[in-house]
């Protein structure tokens, strides 16, 4: 049990090191010299000189050797110092990200969990019901083939503009003041619904297709045929198949987290929903390099943590992993 988690943890730590290194290396070695551009932009700002003193010398340390620069980069990272935003000067990148990350959780978590559960159920239903399958399969394929942002546009057009049910951008109305009032929560919910729905639906198709194929495969296995010959009900056989099929789906969830997060970036962009993805895209438009890097880092940390959580869950639901690593068998 411990060995399984240790192995996984090592991979995640290496990934984190890799991501931070990339974050450090890209602006330094990319063509076009982004750092020089940054310096010239800071010089014209009020108080920019101080920033140059404190941050640039410390992190970029342009007069030092690359190795020393690299160490300095890590040091300021652990101090929670991700630099200062240029577009929202003089706010620190860390504070901006802290304000935005809640929006990512609030649409990603429900969308991922609900689409996974409902997708699996629908897929299992479609796998055993040929009539439903003929209709549902094309729908699932259509959903999973849609680019996230295009589907978000379709949702936005149908529900937001033609039917006029939901507001098409931002997290809450500009006239609203955030607070625990009923009016605000309702307003927040209306803004939240379409980004959630489009993320939910695009993912749904993939899970359903996966589970459908698993069920078809499982009901053809020897154990299923044996159960059938013993007179077990179809329902019971299906339940066994479902339980076996769910394991690869959990692994699939871990694998596709990166894609889902990328999808969320694009979806937030369509709805101007102010999470990390939207922030990152705005930062790119304004060449706010510190903010781009901060968002990148936090998105990766989010994915790594989620992967780790899934690994732990997997350990609990798959007895083979539990036993093989703890030496019980």
């Amino acid at each position: 049990m411990g060995r399984y988690l240790t192995r996984k943890l090592i991979i995640y730590i290496i990934t984190f090191l890799f991501a931070v290194t990339l974050n450090w290396a890209v602006p330094r070695f990319a063509p076009g010299d982004p750092i020089k551009m940054l310096l010239s932009r800071f010089e014209v700002m009020e108080g920019g000189k101080d920033i140059l003193e404190s941050f640039f010398v410390k992190t970029f340390g342009l007069d030092r050797s690359p190795l020393q620069q690299y160490v300095g980069f890590w040091r300021s990272l652990f101090a929670g110092d991700l630099g200062v935003s240029i577009s929202q000067y003089p706010k620190s990148v860390f504070n901006i990200i802290r304000g935005a990350i809640i929006y990512d959780f609030i649409i990603l978590l429900p969308a991922i969990i609900l689409s996974w559960i409902i997708g699996n159920k629908l897929g299992a239903f479609s796998g055993v019901n040929k009539k439903a399958d003929n209709f549902l399969m094309p729908v699932f394929y259509f959903l999973t083939s849609s680019p996230y942002f295009w589907f978000a546009l379709v949702i936005s057009y149908v529900f937001g503009i033609v039917l006029g049910l939901f507001p098409t951008s931002h997290a809450y109305s500009a006239t609203m003041r955030p607070g625990w009032t009923l009016a605000f929560i309702w307003d927040f919910f209306l803004h939240w619904f379409m980004p959630f729905l489009s993320l939910f639906l695009v993912q749904l198709g993939g899970w359903a297709i996966g589970m459908r194929n698993m069920i078809i495969y499982e009901t053809n296995t020897n154990y299923a045929k044996y159960m059938e010959s013993l007179g077990a009900t179809e329902r019971l056989i299906r339940n066994y198949g479902f339980r076996n099929g769910i394991l690869p789906q959990v692994t699939g969830l871990a694998i596709s987290l990166g894609t889902i997060v990328s999808g969320a970036v694009l979806t937030q962009m369509v709805f101007s929903y102010p999470g990390l993805g939207y922030l990152m895209v705005q930062a790119i438009k304004q060449n706010d390099y510190f903010l781009i890097q901060g968002c990148f880092l936090f998105l990766i940390i989010m994915v790594l943590l989620a992967n780790f959580v899934i690994d732990i869950i997997y350990m609990f639901i798959d007895p083979r992993v539990r036993h093989s690593y703890s030496g019980e068998v």
Binding site: I11, P27, P147, F149, L153, V154, V261, I292, Q293, V303
Partner: protein, 288 residues
């Protein structure tokens, strides 16, 4: 008859051309490819040219309507489709190639040093959200061509292929004919080529289709964010322009819905081909 003999020898081909999903998929896919190839020749306009009055819904002169600036959406779509297909083709090929090599090698040397190293690398690339990595790479590259975009998309798309190919290689490796080659002292490279690679052909083909789909989706995502090729037009760019001009709020559904719909239909058609071929190669699935 010679014809009957032919089908007997190419049983898989027979099942492929008589599979409904394959037929439907191939038809739609070819139609869209034809659109990309012949569309630019048919259209009288250029994609940057002022083609007529702006804000026009689809009509006889402008099949997909016009943009707010009076550009022809059909022209933009067919030219964009060309570029997007090219990126998908290049990136899909590169990503499949990397994934195949890494998967083969690590599956063949399973448990040894090359396997451990390659799988660690694969797992790292698997966890990193590819689009955000692409964003950060593209954001720092001021000039990007189609080839550059294809390479950076491919660099993040290969890991799952490597893992899938590895497990496929592992299961093939324990087959008896491979053991036979090994005890007859066949060179390693020959075993890989003749025993393993030859038997994975169908699998590789399906992997390639999925890679093509995946790379097209990520490159369109990049283009939508304005991080695609710096020159020319692409489907993602058409959609980005539409969003920037608030096309939906102005009721110009033809500018946003149509380009994405064509792309989605193309990807669906490829999925259909893929599923159909799966049924062809795995007779167990044919019953459904």
């Amino acid at each position: 008859m010679a014809g009957k003999d032919f089908w007997k020898r190419h049983e898989n081909l027979y099942f492929a051309v008589s599979n409904k999903k394959v037929i439907l998929g191939v038809t739609v896919f070819l139609a869209i490819v034809a659109l990309a190839i012949f569309g630019p020749m048919v259209t009288p306009y250029d994609y940057e040219e002022f083609a007529g009055r702006g804000y026009q819904p689809p009509s006889k002169e402008h099949w997909f309507g016009t943009t707010i600036m009076g550009r022809d959406v059909f022209t933009q779509v067919v030219f964009g489709l060309r570029s997007t297909l090219l990126v998908g083709f290049l990136a899909g090929t590169i990503a499949s190639a990397i994934g195949l090599v890494v998967g083969f090698v690590s599956g063949f040397f399973s448990g040894k040093a090359p396997d451990e190293g390659l799988m660690a690398l694969t797992n790292i690339f698997m966890v990193i959200p590819s689009l955000t990595l692409l964003i950060i790479l593209s954001a720092y590259l001021p000039y990007r061509g189609i080839a550059t975009q294809a390479i950076i998309v491919a660099a993040t798309a290969w890991p799952w292929t490597a893992r899938a190919v590895r497990s496929q290689t592992l299961s093939l490796k324990s087959q008896e004919f491979v053991n036979l080659s090994r005890i007859s002292a066949a060179p390693t490279f020959r075993i890989i080529r003749e025993d393993i690679a030859a038997n994975m052909f169908s699998y590789v083909f399906m992997v390639y289709i999925l890679q093509f789909n995946g790379t097209i989706l990520s490159s369109v995502g990049l283009e939508f964010l304005g991080l695609g090729p710096t020159r020319g037009i692409s489907l993602g760019l058409v959609l980005q322009n539409a969003v920037n001009w608030n096309a939906l709020h102005l009721g110009m559904w033809w500018w946003t819905i149509i380009p994405g719909l064509i792309l989605t239909l193309m990807i669906v058609s490829l999925y259909f081909i893929n599923t159909g071929l799966d049924e062809v190669f795995n007779p167990r699935l044919r019953e459904m």
